[in-house]
Amino acid sequence: MVMLSVMIWSVGVFLEILLLVRGFQEKLFGQFPVFYLYLLFVMVNDVVSMCVYRWASNYYFQVYWVTQFLSLAIGSGIIFEIYRVALRSFPGAARMTRCVLLIVFGAIFANALTIPWDGVFRWLAAATITLERNLRIVQALAILTLALLFSWYAIPFGKNLKGILFGYSLFVGLSIVQFTLWRYSREQIKPFWSYAQPVCYLLVMGVWIRALWFAVPLPKINPDPQIESDYELLIATTRDQFRKTLARLGWAARA
């Protein structure tokens, strides 16, 4: 069993190194710095965790949870990087996304405030798994909001960014499922727990390797030169078209 764990770990580290090397060769570091920082951190973390597990297993759980939260924090940076890279050429969509994300985070914060104060401390002091799962849910909500807005504004991703988003979303989604299962059916999941996470992570690594093997530039869409100065006109035109449609529907209702 221990051998199997070490093997999965080793494959993971190998894939991380491979991804880092390809990123360096394809000059993707500069394009996605936070993502590669995250990968580097996870790789170092894996090696350190493996050593601690082998030679100082008493400290393994402390090391695991501390590094897990650090990776969660850096992982949140990936979401910001996806937002930054994808919306670089779309200032209008970026502004809307900022606003909607603020509302989503505001709603999460307001929801947290509705918990009684002693409840918050109890919540914070609750099992680390629950806390991490809750933070992953916040990440998932942020990713979903981003994805909905990207889809609404038809933002082109490009193969690399699409792969990063796909892989990280998969990772967050699977983490939430795992943590929820752990919380509610701990005994049944215990034998598989130490394998489930690394195996899911290998799956995510596979997605990333496929997407980031070659650097593919983001598809460029040239904006209409009239747009910037004509925003007010655009709003007015759209409203006018809506009014005309409403009038037509009104005719139907009045007939």
Partner: protein
């Protein structure tokens, strides 16, 4: 947080992943095509004038068909008119989404996007889409003359109620004008 929320978030995320993976890479060129088509709205592909809507939903044709006293003809008319009305509402709904799509493909590039105006516009868009969905529902369920029938039924009902309770109506009129209140 509730375990249900966790599952919903995870499921939604996984559905999004499926959609993302299914999204065609060529689809990225779509916005540029749409930009070229922006002036097509309201031109050759546009809907007929509002009078057409009036004609489709007007009960006059139905009255005319009723004069023939042919059940078969009446049934045929109902079926045909229902299809025409549904087609018209669906086209209107499609046109609405084209208008909105054109708007968002243009506004995404704009430096001076007004968040409140965009939110209001989105609200209007959703309202119109719901209106279309409601019309489709009504037409499917009761036929294209449902709204007119409902309105005339309500009018009849109101008159009937007024006739059956003349005293109550009179009392309400007095009360509404600030006069004597019935005890």
């Amino acid at each position: 947080m509730m375990p249900g929320l966790a599952f919903v978030a995870a499921a939604a995320l996984l559905v999004f992943l499926l959609l993302l993976s299914a999204r065609d890479e060529n689809g990225d060129d779509l916005p540029a095509t749409s930009m070229r088509n922006r002036n097509r709205l309201g031109a050759a592909d546009a809907l007929r004038p509002a009078e057409l809507a009036f004609r489709i939903f007007s009960p006059k044709d139905r009255e005319f068909i009723r004069l023939t006293r042919s059940t078969r003809l009446e049934r045929l008319y109902r079926e045909e008119r229902r299809r025409v009305a549904l087609h018209w509402v669906r086209r209107t709904s499609r046109e609405l989404s084209t208008i909105m799509r054109h708007h968002r493909l243009n506004s995404r590039h704009s430096q001076n996007v007004n968040v409140a105006a965009e939110a209001k516009l989105f609200g209007q868009y959703m309202e119109l889409r719901f209106l279309c969905a409601g019309l489709v529902f009504l037409i499917r369920l009761f036929g294209p003359h449902a709204l007119a029938d409902l309105a005339s039924y309500a009018g009849e009902l109101y008159e009937r109620l007024g006739r059956s309770m003349p005293d109550a109506t009179a009392t309400n009129h007095v009360a509404a004008s600030g006069g004597v209140v019935a005890r």
